[in-house]
Subunit: 271 residues, 2 copies
């Protein structure tokens, strides 16, 4: 079993979503999917029993910025054809988290043995797509410069509840010079299905962030005097909302181990 | 001679650019053109001798954000057919300023007697168009709430020079809540020919503005604690650049007395 970097060093061809998924499925690689299949959309994954699925679907529809749903499986079906012809959500992520009553009970490399006829898979867009568009435009992403995880914060902004699902919006933060922040609004507006435009910028206190240097998830990054913190709705929102419900049973991707799809980032651009 | 408001009170039909121009031409109204022919593009006007026109044209092309050129007349020609079939830049603005060597020598209601065979007219997009789009989206414009002129500031940002034309970028400022500022970037991005997206937001000191309460033109407006100042490139930039050159002779519109065109604001939206 190899990491992405190691496999690439050895000439592995992981240049498409399908190739990446097949490599993961045959357990030829583990770890984070960042950098796999450049240009292809990666997604957050949440798998819930059917009893909760309808409410969660409604939660996503009411909160499209933190929960941009790009694919849903039929109950009991491990395929999401809209995201890839040969795609199996039980085997195609490098690592999963299995939860019972809000506690992690396993972190397996596939979930075949956990699969049930009543499970529904939700694929939710992730920031990798818009980050690539920002990098392509020459905008620095501080957490990449610092080689760390993007800082994320619980805010005082409430999501729109649906059934038992409710809780605060979680945001990620990228510091930028004002002109870059304006450009970033323009660029990420093109990608509504991967969080879209920022939800806030400047003045973190207005959304309940007391100390920008103390993120609730990820790592703190420096915000220079000539920069504004720019905040995007974050895919950790649905995860944190699910965990608050403490479902009898659910499965999510392991942090950083995403579902790699056959859809290209550019397909998700609205113009 | 009546003001726009008075004429409207008496049932005047000033609902198209042409109707507004004809009313101005027959001196049926004076004063500011704001509110005339709703939905139609209004423009800043600068008229220069041919000896300066080529350099000024290049200056506009190098600085499209402060100087979005939407029409240019042929030398000696008072028409700009691209902006309106029956359009005469000598008579169709309520008031003009005539300058010699950088000094105002007259503020007439038409410039027929000043017209020369070597004069070239430049119509430059103005913020009225994008302000209408912001208002239509429900965004408050503070200077309208305060019933005053938008505050404008000389910045430390230099324009790209062309021939004798050079000088600082002038910006207008509208305070907004962060979410409105993000929305305003999206909306005004659609209108590149009327100044387009903001050039800066937050942190006025980064563009050389020492005191936001002391604009160089227009009136100060309050910026609340939960707001960011949002800055757009301003059509006063070309005027201030022209004045610095102190041409032997030139003509501009009188502040607020714009050229009303037959083009609709929506025609200028790029998407």
């Amino acid at each position: 079993m190899a990491t992405v970097a190691a496999l690439k060093d050895h000439g592995g061809t992981l240049e498409t979503g399908l190739a990446a998924r097949l490599a993961v499925r045959r357990k030829a690689l583990s770890g984070a999917t960042s950098g796999l299949a450049p240009g292809y959309v990666q997604a957050n994954l949440a798998i819930l029993p059917r009893t909760l699925a309808q409410d969660f679907l409604q939660f996503c529809q009411r909160n499209p910025k933190p929960c941009p749903l790009i694919g849903v499986s039929a109950a009991g079906d491990w395929r999401i054809p809209a995201l890839g012809e040969d795609l199996d959500i039980r085997t195609d992520l490098p690592r999963y988290r299995v939860w019972r009553h809000g506690e992690i009970v396993d972190e397996p490399s596939d979930i075949v043995k956990y699969w049930r006829d009543d499970l529904v898979g939700f694929a939710i867009g992730c920031s990798f797509s818009f980050e690539q568009a920002l990098l392509d435009d020459g905008i620095e992403l501080r957490h990449m410069t610092c080689d760390c995880t993007v800082p994320m914060y619980r805010t005082s902004v409430e999501t729109h509840p649906a059934g038992p699902f409710r809780g605060p919006l979680v945001v990620s933060m990228r510091p930028m010079k004002p002109a870059d922040a304006i450009r970033a609004v323009q660029i990420t507006t093109r990608f509504p299905s991967v969080h879209g435009a920022p939800v806030h910028l400047g003045k973190p206190e207005l959304i309940g962030i007391k100390d920008i240097n103390k993120p609730d998830w990820g790592d703190a990054v420096p915000v220079h005097d000539d920069e504004l913190p720019v905040f995007w709705a974050c895919g950790v929102t649905p995860q944190s909302v699910i965990m608050a419900v403490k479902p009898d049973f659910c499965i999510t991707h392991y942090p950083g181990s995403m579902l790699v799809t056959d859809r290209r980032n550019t397909e998700f651009a609205i113009m």
